[in-house]
Amino acid sequence: MSKPSALFGHVVRLMKQNLSFQNRSDVSIVLCGQAGMGIQTVERFLTQIFKLCGYHVFATKEYMSRIRGGVNSTSIRVSSKAVRALIDRIDILILLDKGAIPHVRRRISSKTVILAETAALGDDFDRSQYNCIDVPFTKIAIDIGDKIYSNIVAVGAIAGLFGIELQAINEYIKQYFSAKSPDIVQKNVQAAKAGHELGSNLVGSGKVAFLISPDSRVKDEILLSGAEAVGLGAIAGGCDFISAYPMSPSTPVLVFLAQHAKEFGMIAEQAEDEIAAMNMAVGAWYAGARAMVSTSGGGFALMVEGLSLSAMLEIPIVVHLAQRPGPATGLPTRTEQADLELALYAGHGEFPRIILAPGTIEEAFYLTSTAFNLADKYQVPVFVLTDQYLIDSYYNVAPFDLSGVKVDRHIVRTQEDYQRYELTPDGVSPRGIPGYGKGLVVVDSDEHDTHGHITEDLDLRVKMVDKRLRKMESFKKETIEPELIGPDDYKTLVICWGSSYHAVVEAVRNLARDDVAILHFKQVHPLAEKTAAYLQKARRTVIVEGNATGQLAKQIKLYTGIDIHDRILKYSGLSFAVEEVADRLAGLLD
C-alpha cells in the first residue's frame, strides 16, 4: 500500500491544478476491468450507496460478449441534480486491469484523475499528460486474501473520495453478501475499509471538495434499471405468463420476472427455442392468460412465424424486443436502434400492430403496462421496443404511480352460439376463451369463417382481411402522442425516439438555444396524426437515430410525405453520449 504521505502529495498537486471536476455539481466516474472482475458489482454498489446518501445517480455499462477477460467498463454519474444520460467526459477513471487505456483514451483529458496501479496504465502511456495516482488495488486485495477483492477496494476508494461514511458501505456489504460466509463478508469489509482510507487520504483534511450536495427528494425515489422497469411494467400490466429463450440484451427481463413469478402467480418458462416461446405465449393468451415474450433480434426472427399466427388468430401478444446490433449475431452485448423496421414488417401477410418505444425508465414501466391493455383490447401484437442501453442503464426516478394503472381484461363469457370472428364495425370481435361460458372457441391459422373453422370462401376471405385491418383505424384513436420538449415557437425541431431521449434532451439543453425544440416519439407505429403538423412548423428538422439508415425518418416520410433535413445517426454499437449529440447538432445549426 502506498504511504498516506505520498498520496497526500498527489492531493496537493491536484489542488494546485484547480481541477475542474472539483467544481462540478456532476461528476463522471468510469471503472474499467476485465469481465469477471466484478465491475457490475461495483456499479451496483456505488449506485446504491450514492443513492442512499441522497445523490442523483446514473449508471450504464458497456461490455464484451465474454465471461472472463477483455475490457468492460461502467460509467457512473453522481450529481446534485437529476442525471440520466451517458456523457463522454471522465472525471475519475479507475483502472483495475491493464489494457483499458486504449478503450477510454478518447474520453480522458488532462483533467481526468486516473486511479490505477502503474502496471495497469501500459508501457506506451505518457503519465505526464494526465493526473495519475498510483493505487495498488491488486496488492491491497491480495494482502486481504485474494485479488478478487480489488473491486471492493475501488468501491471504498470512491466512497472515500466523496466523503461517504464507511459505515454506510459496511451495511451495504453485509446486506449484499448476506448469503456468503462471514469470512467473505469480513474480507469485503476490510477491502472497503482499505479503499476508503485511501480515498479519504486523497481528499486530505476536507480540502478537496466536490460541490455535490445531496437532494432530500432522492431518498424517496427508486433506483432501478430499464430491465427492471420493463419487468415491473409487465406485472402492472397483468402479465402472468412469460416465455422466453435467453438472449442478450433481453435476458435481464426474463430473469427479473422469473425471480418474482411465484409471488405474483406468474408462469415463467424458459422455452427450448424462441419458436416455442412465441407459440406458448399465443396459446396462453388463447386460454385467458396475459403473456409476453422477451427477446432480441435473432431470437425475434425465430418468433416471426408465431407473430403472424397471433395476427391470424387475432390473439393478443406482447413482444419485448431489446435491440442489439445485427445482422445475424452482430454485437451481442451492444446497443442499436435498428430493429424498428424488423418489428414493423415482421410476419407474412398483412396485419396491423402497435410499436411502443420507451425512452426513459418511467416510460419503460408505464408503456409496458399499457402494452398489455392495448393488445387485449384490439387483439393485435404490441411491441415494447427497447435496446441494450436502456435495459442496462440505471437511475433514480420518482416511485411509479399505480393509481392510474389498471388491468383491462377484454374477455367475454361465451353463449352457445358464440362466433369467435364475428364481423364487427371496429374489426374487434368479442374474445371468448375455452371453458368460460357455454360456447366453443375455435381459432385457426388458416383463413377461417366467423366460427373459426377453415374456409376457402374467397368473398369471406376479403371480409376477414378487411376486418383485421380495420382494427388499425380503431387503435389509431389511442395513439400515444409524441412529447414536445422546448419552446412552442421553435425554428429547429430535433426528433428522436426510444432510448436516445435523455442524451438528446441534455445535449439540446447544453446548447442553450431558444429556437430549438425536441419531439420525442414513444409510439413509433402507427405515428400520431399530429406528426406532420409538428414537422411543418419547423424551418429545419434533424433526426437522431441509433441506426445507419434513419428508420424512423423513413416512416415519417412514408406517413407524412415530409423529408427530414438532417440525420444524426450512430451505429458503432455504443449509445449516444450527450457531448456527441451536442457537437453534431451544433455543427448543423451554425
Binding site: 446504491q48 431518498k219 424517496d220 427508486i222 433506483l223 432501478l224 415491473l232 406485472i235 402492472a236 402472468d240 405468463f241 416465455s243 418474482h260 413469478a261 411465484k262 409471488e263 405474483f264 402467480g265 406468474m266 408462469i267 418458462e269 427450448e272 427455442d273 419458436i275 416455442a276 407459440n279 406458448m280 405465449a281 399465443v282 396459446g283 396462453a284 388463447y286 386460454a287 385467458g288 392468460a289 403473456a291 408465431g306 399466427l309 388468430l313 416511485p399 411509479f400 399505480l402 388491468v407 381484461r409 374477455i411 376463451i433 375455452p434 371453458g435 361460458g437 357455454k438 366453443l440 372457441v441 375455435v442 381459432v443 385457426d444 391459422s445 388458416d446 373459426g452 373453422h453 377453415i454
Partner: protein
C-alpha cells in the same frame, strides 16, 4: 355420453375416402364420449397437415396453429387453465419433423396433455414426400432413389426421455385404439399415442394389409413399468408392437411445477394482479 356431441354435422371432410384418419377421429370421439368429457371443457390443438385438420371435424374448442407447433400452445393452454382437457393431435411430419424440438422438450416438461400422432409414414397434404418415419427404400417424387435416412423412432425416443406415458395404436382397429386413447387421456402427465395408419393415396408400401401383417399387440406379460423392456419393444422393427409400452413412475406435471396452483386453483384469467404486493416490490427499489 353419445359421440354425437362431438359431431360437427353437414361438413365437407377433406380426407380421401378410406383414409386412416377417419378411424382415429371416430376412436377419439368414442373415447371422449365414454369418458364423459364435455366439448366445452376440451381443447384440441393441432398443427398443419391432413391429420391436423381433425379438430375441424370435432365440435369442441379448437386451436389449429402452425405446422410443427402444436405442443407449445397445448402446454401453455393447460398451464394457463389446468381444468381444461388438452389434446395435441397432428401428423408424423408435424410432430416429429417440423416440431421435433418441441416433441423432445415437451416430454421433458411433462404437461398433463395427450399427444396423438397420426403416423402414416408419408406427407399427405404436400402430396407424397417422405416423412421422418418413412421406411428405408420408400420411393417418392423427392426421395427418388428411395429413403436412405434411418426412420425416426418416436417411441424409443420418448422412452429414452422417460416420457410419462408411451403407447402405439393402429387406426385399422378402432376398438383397441379407443381403449389405448382412454388410457392415455386419463393418465396424469404427458401421454404419447403414436397411431399407425395407412395413407391410401401416397403410401403404397405401408397399406392396410401391410399393417395387419406387421403389427401385433403386447400381451399381459409386458410390464409397462419396465423401462428397459419397453425400450426393447420400441426398437422391434420386424413386427411393430401395439399397446401401452411404458408408464414412468409418477412425477409432477408442468402445471404443478409452476407452483402457482398450490394455494390457488383458479385459472390465470380469473386472477387479479396483487397491486399492493407490486407497490411493495417497487418500494424495495428505494434502498
Amino acid at each position: 355420453m353419445d359421440t354425437q356431441v362431438f359431431d360437427m354435422g353437414g361438413i365437407d371432410i377433406a380426407w380421401c375416402p378410406g383414409c386412416g384418419n377417419f378411424g382415429i377421429l371416430n376412436a377419439l370421439k368414442k373415447a371422449l364420449a365414454e369418458l364423459e368429457i364435455e366439448p366445452t371443457n376440451l381443447v384440441l390443438v393441432s398443427g398443419i397437415g391432413q391429420a391436423a385438420k381433425a379438430p375441424h371435424y370435432f365440435r369442441t374448442n379448437v386451436f389449429n396453429g402452425l405446422h410443427g407447433r402444436a405442443l407449445p400452445p397445448a402446454t401453455a393452454i393447460k398451464a394457463s387453465n389446468p381444468s381444461l382437457m388438452v389434446i395435441a393431435e397432428s401428423g408424423d411430419g408435424d410432430m416429429y419433423g417440423e416440431g421435433g424440438n418441441h416433441f423432445l422438450h415437451t416430454i421433458r416438461r411433462n404437461p398433463d396433455i395427450t399427444n396423438i400422432v397420426h403416423n402414416n409414414m408419408v406427407y399427405g397434404l404436400t402430396k407424397g414426400q417422405a416423412s421422418p418415419t418413412s421406411l428405408r427404400g420408400f420411393r417418392t417424387p423427392v426421395q427418388v432413389a428411395g429413403v436412405f435416412l434411418e426412420p425416426f423412432n418416436p417411441l424409443a425416443v420418448a422412452i429414452a426421455l422417460d416420457a410419462s406415458f408411451v403407447a402405439r395404436a393402429y387406426s385399422g382397429d378402432m376398438q383397441q385404439t379407443k381403449e389405448i386413447l382412454k388410457k392415455a387421456i386419463t393418465h396424469k402427465g404427458y401421454a404419447l399415442v403414436d397411431v399407425l395408419h395407412p395413407c391410401v393415396s401416397y403410401n403404397k408400401l405401408s397399406t392396410y394389409q401391410w399393417f395387419r401383417e406387421h403389427t401385433y399387440y403386447l400381451d399381459d406379460s409386458h410390464d409397462p413399468r419396465d423401462r428397459n423392456e419397453a425400450f426393447k419393444k420400441a426398437t422391434e422393427t420386424e413386427k411393430l408392437p401395439l399397446g401401452v409400452f411404458y408408464i414412468s413412475p409418477e412425477r409432477a406435471t408442468f402445471e404443478e411445477n409452476t407452483g402457482i396452483y398450490k394455494e390457488n386453483r383458479q385459472p390465470l384469467y380469473a386472477r387479479k394482479v396483487d397491486m399492493g404486493r407490486l407497490a411493495g416490490l417497487i418500494e424495495k427499489f428505494r434502498t
